[in-house]
């Protein structure tokens, strides 16, 4: 069947480009999309409609910041693909890293550019407590929820009661925020239509995909081997790599990336080995239990999803690259000498021509859904 698909593509040339059998399998592996929802066993509020509604309120709640002016949505703007368009995020202060999009965040294994958290709910707590982002304490978050009749009512509706312990209440806030973010899934794209047509052998569907994007996909899944890391339906392996982006922040300061992230993960009271994992069997904690800290992790950052990439500029962990073309140029001219990967031999310069560069950009642009899918739900009447 797969061989037949390859032959079909070959027969359509030059209207359609031929992919090798291996490339066809690789392209098929980037779907189907969207993926089915699977609740997070570590979060008993996952998939719960009341939790989603509470989480949505909390996400836009400005009282969850030390100055009462910011919320999660300060950096994660729905109209900007859940990011902010800034090179480096600005909360109460400017931080070192680019704001990642929240689209498809529930599919991740690790959270944050350094993977310092192993669940979406633990990651959702981090910016609340970071002095440079929202600058709250567990006690302040707990006091807000307890004092607000609507929030505390909704909290009880999801979790049964409002805990006396501040930290436990904070974890519930994180879990409700996670339940809301789990609903943020990017839509189908021109690439998805092409991929499905390819799998079905639908010649018209295959022909409808732009030629430049097909050529770019050929680079992506062929000589570029971009899918070695950007794999699967979400176009990411969920792991960490040094991609040659300088990790100097300023004179005398560096961002150690994954190396520090693993240490933060292990020290966190909110990791999946801790008290607050609702998965009694701890099957969700396999990665946390076994993650390996090595020198090569220094300067590694999480492989981002490529879905809706065109809506997520600027790029890389510190927003250093302004456009998709800059990103492609980076990989086209990357010097292995600039990597700090202890002898790893993954990246080599793609040495793309001008047309190859444009083709790869054209392909990446077909991974975007056009945006504008989120509509904030009108809040129901106050909970009593």
């Amino acid at each position: 069947m797969k061989r037949a698909l390859v032959l079909l593509l070959a027969a359509l040339a030059p209207a359609a480009l031929a992919f090798t059998e291996a490339e066809t399998r690789a392209i098929a592996a980037h779907g189907p999309w969207p993926p089915a929802f699977a609740p997070d066993p570590s979060n008993r509020a996952s998939g719960n409609n009341d939790a989603i509604e509470l989480g949505e309120r909390l996400f836009f709640e400005r009282r969850l910041s030390a100055n009462g002016e910011h919320s999660c949505s300060r950096c994660h703007l729905p109209e900007r693909n859940w990011t902010d368009g800034e090179a480096r995020a600005l909360g109460l202060e400017r931080v070192e890293r680019n704001t990642p999009s929240l689209n498809n965040v529930r599919l991740q294994r690790w959270f944050g550019w350094d993977g310092a958290h192993d669940s979406l709910w633990a990651q959702s707590i981090r910016p609340l407590l970071d002095a440079r982002e929202l600058g709250m304490s567990a006690a302040q978050v707990a006091a807000l929820v307890r004092a607000d009749a609507d929030l505390s009512c909704r909290y009880r509706r999801v979790f049964g009661s409002v805990p006396a312990a501040d930290e436990e209440l904070l974890v519930g806030v994180g879990k409700a925020l996670a339940a809301f973010q789990e609903t943020l899934v990017s839509g189908r794209t021109a690439f998805d239509d092409f991929r499905d047509a390819l799998v079905k052998g639908d010649a018209a569907g295959i022909a409808a995909y732009p030629q430049a994007a097909k050529r770019g996909l050929g680079i992506f899944a062929g000589k570029g081997s971009c899918n070695a890391c950007h794999l699967g339906p979400a176009f990411t392996n969920g792991e960490f790599h040094d991609t040659g982006i300088p990790f100097f922040i300023e004179q005398g300061r560096v961002d150690p990336g994954r190396h520090a992230g693993i240490q933060k993960l292990r020290a966190s009271p909110f990791n999946l080995l801790g008290l607050y994992n609702d998965d009694a069997k701890r099957s969700t904690a396999t990665g946390t239990r076994h993650v390996r800290l090595e020198h090569r992790n220094f300067g590694e950052f999480r492989t981002p999803s490529l879905r809706n990439l065109a809506l997520s500029a600027p790029y890389m962990h510190n927003g250093r690259l302004a456009t998709l073309r800059d990103v492609v140029n980076h990989y086209s001219t990357i010097s292995p000498d600039r990597l700090h990967a202890d002898g790893e031999a993954i990246l080599r310069p793609l040495q793309l021509s001008e047309r190859g560069t444009l083709d790869l950009v054209a392909f990446l642009e077909t991974l975007a859904d056009g945006g504008g899918r989120y509509a904030r739900r009108p809040f129901a009447e106050d909970c009593r």
Binding site: R25, A26, A29, N227, A228, C229, L231, G232, N237, G238, E239, F240, T286, G287, R289, H290, V291, R292, R296, A341, G343, E344, A345, I346
Partner: protein
């Protein structure tokens, strides 16, 4: 009637001295990969089946049972290992379960099995391809 137990005992003694590993080296539950040297046999299978980006465990039988077994994997072409350090549970009689493995990139990986015993150590490498 009196001869019979003696034969059985003798047979058991011969097996006990010469080839207990060969007879005992089985891993029930389905197809296995088999690695062999003059001194050792290793049988293993991945559970669940290998898929890039997903955690899996290895069920192992090593015959004869070594004093120590280490399990790891790496990608020779990329010159990097896994991002996870497997944990190994000895189940007795040369049976083991290694947990926490994950191949985070597609391509050729090699499982590495290191067997240590008073007489010296032996290392096995076995290549697999994941997509």
């Amino acid at each position: 009637m009196e001869e019979r137990p003696a034969v059985v005992r003798a047979t058991a003694l011969i097996l006990g001295l010469a080839a207990p590993a060969a007879l005992a080296c089985e891993l029930s539950g389905g197809p296995v990969e088999k690695l062999q040297s003059a001194a050792y046999t290793i049988l293993y299978r991945a559970a669940p089946a290998l898929r890039v980006g997903e955690h899996f465990a290895l069920e192992l039988a090593v015959c004869p049972a070594p004093e120590e077994l280490r399990v790891d994997a790496w990608m020779p072409d990329h010159r990097h290992g896994m991002n996870y350090r497997p944990s190994l549970q000895a189940l007795g009689s040369g049976r083991y379960r290694a947990e926490g493995l994950l191949f985070h990139m597609p391509g050729r990986w090699e499982f590495l099995f290191e067997l240590r015993a008073p007489g010296g150590s032996e290392r096995f490498a076995h290549a697999v391809r994941v997509e």
